[in-house]
């Protein structure tokens, strides 16, 4: 089956190797025998996308991305309505909300796809992260490089963090999820490092494409081991920094 990814603002909004999230999903789908097309651009056609992705940028890059995406809000809403997955990571998450207030006090109207609001701070809070997940599920590891507080999330992606700064407090709830709209402030190739999270996205993408969702999804060589090493290292060495 042919599956289409749309990578929004791939140059402005890929500061920490975010493009690799799509590389890994594509490899997984190809291993399952699907054909994947990646459409990349600042204002591409969203009407055929099964997955719409945007990664992290600089604070300025994020504002440019916001301006570029504003005329496409209806396209994004339509995509969500027909079950396409919208995944925004890093500070791309913030543009989905109601507003972003920058350090100069300027309020940037968000895309309004989620209820939360964000305030940027002069303090950057880069940190390794372990996110808690429901019992029986694998925790999520990664990194965040944020200088903002996001308030008003009622449906976080992760209920709490074992390590790292949540939406608005240390170890607090992190990210946002509602149906097929998913966001996290975790930066970089978060789906590369976390096969379980990649599978969660993959299931939604396959469902949207009308493809069969098998019980077992592919894991790329070394992916699980890389996750386990990072989790072990973070728990043994990073605990004091949590």
């Amino acid at each position: 089956m042919k599956i289409q990814f749309v990578h929004l603002c791939p140059q402005r909004m890929s500061l920490y190797g975010e493009y690799a999230n799509l590389v890994i999903l594509r490899r997984m789908l190809e291993e399952m025998g699907h054909e994947v097309e990646v459409v990349a651009g600042e204002s591409p056609d969203l009407s055929k996308a099964n997955l719409i992705y945007m990664g992290c940028g600089t604070e300025r890059g994020q504002k440019f991305a916001l301006q570029v995406l504003r005329p496409q809000v209806e396209g994004l809403k339509a995509a969500l309505d027909r079950g396409a997955v919208v995944l925004f990571t890093g500070n791309a998450m913030e543009v989905l909300g109601q507003s972003i207030t920058d350090t100069q006090g300027k309020v940037w109207q968000g895309l309004g796809l989620a209820e939360f609001t964000t305030i940027e701070t002069r303090q950057r809070n880069p940190h390794d992260v372990i996110a808690n997940t429901p019992p029986g599920q694998s925790p999520v590891v990664g990194f965040m490089n944020k200088c903002s507080l996001t308030a008003g999330v009622t449906t976080p992606l992760f209920e709490s963090l074992e390590m790292g700064f949540g939406n608005d407090c240390q170890r607090g709830p992190e990210g946002y999820v509602k149906g097929n709209l998913m966001a996290t402030h975790l930066t970089g190739p978060v789906l590369v490092k976390n096969p379980a999270l990649a599978h969660r996205v993959l299931r939604m993408v396959l469902t949207n494409a009308g493809a069969q969702v098998p019980d077992t999804l592919p894991v790329l060589p070394h992916q699980q081991e890389a996750f386990e090493v990072t989790l072990r290292e973070l728990r043994s060495k990073g605990e004091n920094a949590g």
Binding site: Y16, G17, D128, N145, K193, V229
Partner: protein, 443 residues
């Protein structure tokens, strides 16, 4: 009086510290407690040159110091690379007489890019060399634009900026209205029309966000650029490498000064250019500067030659969390055209702090190792699986990739097999784990 005590305390602690073989930050830290504004109370030499940027700080400072010494100048500089305010305070106070006069003709400082504003709160450089701004240690630095914003408050209006014209973000420092001198590399056979690398930080203008156009790229986003929207463009350099043949190891400075390169890397070219610019600006003649730069061999050990079994080995220090540094060394290996094996080690991501962040591996252009003369790529260290997964998604033939989590096992494996050239690509944090197990070549 507090200044006097701070100077005495610093000198004493430095003396004791040297005897005990301790680092150079602590005396300065204590002196700053005794007299927080001590750096504003000392009398500095007529020239204060600071060097900052993502890459090349230490090398550029060393080269400037060597040239100035050859020109007969008395140079005070932080050879130990302690580049934050405490280390700088130690340096300055230990070179002061008791009246607070710093000895020497030139004070030369390597300055950490994020903390320069603290150091230059109390005094300011006469010349501020900014080499480049890349994605470097983003787990601490955030991103290059954030570092740019952090450097801005360190720039005093009267400081003359010595800027890399070929880096579009560095060129934005000129918008502060300071006096500026530019250095840059003119067109050369290795420059490309297209961008190479896994990401393009020159795609959009750092001044206005508009689309940028490049007439040529030297490497990554360093090149000759112009913004299609606001016109931000590469300025005409005051100091330039006017000819460059990297393969032959030759360049020409300012149209008339030929230089032979001991190390044929584009980094070395820019370090030379930055050092040449700073020294020419404070009156060193071309002949003296060229005499030092010719065949200049860096003593900082970033390139180490060794023997392992039948292999002739070269360690190319490539900072982890710095994809441009990796790319430069991988390009060097690609351009050797001699059969070789490459050992890549990622064990401790930093020697200064802990992080498990490996996203920077995806910013490195490992496809460069798909060149046919690269016979094997051996991956090693704690993060060997992250490396292996990254290579799995690269153009390197999987049959050429060998995994060995243990570094000593990787070294033993190489010792037993093959006689091709061996390149080790890793960071300061991990290199001794290899170097301790090989036979180093005498300098």
């Amino acid at each position: 009086m507090r200044r006097f005590f701070a100077i005495i305390l610093c000198k004493l602690m430095r003396l004791v510290g040297k005897l005990l073989g301790r680092g150079s930050s602590l005396p300065g830290q204590f002196a700053l407690k005794v007299c927080p504004d001590v750096l504003g109370r000392v009398k500095l030499p007529p020239y204060v040159i600071a060097v900052t940027g993502s890459n090349g700080k230490t090398s550029t400072v060393e080269m400037i110091a060597a040239i100035l010494k050859a020109a007969g100048k008395n140079v005070v500089y932080n050879a130990e690379g302690s580049n934050q305010i405490e280390g700088v305070t130690t340096l300055i106070l230990s070179q002061c007489d008791l009246s607070g006069q710093v000895r020497g003709d030139v004070l030369l400082l390597e300055s950490d890019e994020r903390y320069a504003r603290h150091t230059f709160h109390w005094f300011h450089p006469t010349h501020f060399v900014i080499t480049n701004l890349y994605r470097d240690q983003l787990t601490r630095n955030g991103h290059p634009q954030w570092v740019y914003e952090a450097i801005l408050p360190a720039i005093h209006p009267s400081t003359t900026l010595v800027l890399n014209a070929d880096d579009p973000l560095v060129a934005c420092f000129a918008h502060q209205g300071n006096p500026v001198k530019w250095f840059g590399l003119e067109a050369w056979p290795g420059a490309t029309k297209e961008h190479h690398g896994m990401y393009d930080d020159g795609a959009f203008c750092p001044a206005c966000g508009g689309k940028m156009e490049y007439s040529l790229y030297h490497y990554n986003h360093i090149g000759h650029y112009r913004c299609t929207q606001c016109g931000h463009h590469r300025p005409h350099p005051d100091f330039a490498v006017t000819e460059l043949d990297l393969e032959a190891g030759k360049l020409v400075l300012d149209g008339d000064t030929p230089i032979q390169l001991a190390f044929r890397s584009i980094y070395n070219v820019y370090n030379i250019l930055a050092a040449w610019s700073a020294c020419r600006m404070i009156g060193v003649d071309k002949h003296t500067a060229a005499g030092v730069i010719n065949n200049y061999i860096l003593k900082n050990g970033r390139m180490v030659r060794f023997t392992l079994g039948q292999h002739k080995g070269t360690l190319l220090t490539s900072k982890h969390e710095n994809s441009v540094a990796y790319d430069t060394n991988l390009r060097y290996i690609r351009d050797t055209h001699t059969p070789c094996t490459v050992l890549v080690v990622v064990d401790a991501i930093s020697r200064k702090y802990f992080t498990g962040e490996t996203s920077w591996l995806w910013d490195i252009d490992f496809d460069l190792l798909s060149a046919p003369h690269v016979q094997r790529v051996v991956l090693s260290g704690r993060y060997v699986h992250d490396l292996a997964l990254r290579f799995e998604c690269s153009a390197v033939d999987p049959d050429k990739v060998v995994l060995s989590a243990g570094i000593s096992q990787a070294v033993e494996f190489l010792e037993r097999s093959g006689d091709e050239d061996l390149y080790v690509v890793t960071c300061f944090s991990d290199r001794d784990k290899v170097l301790d197990r090989v036979e180093l070549e005498e300098n």
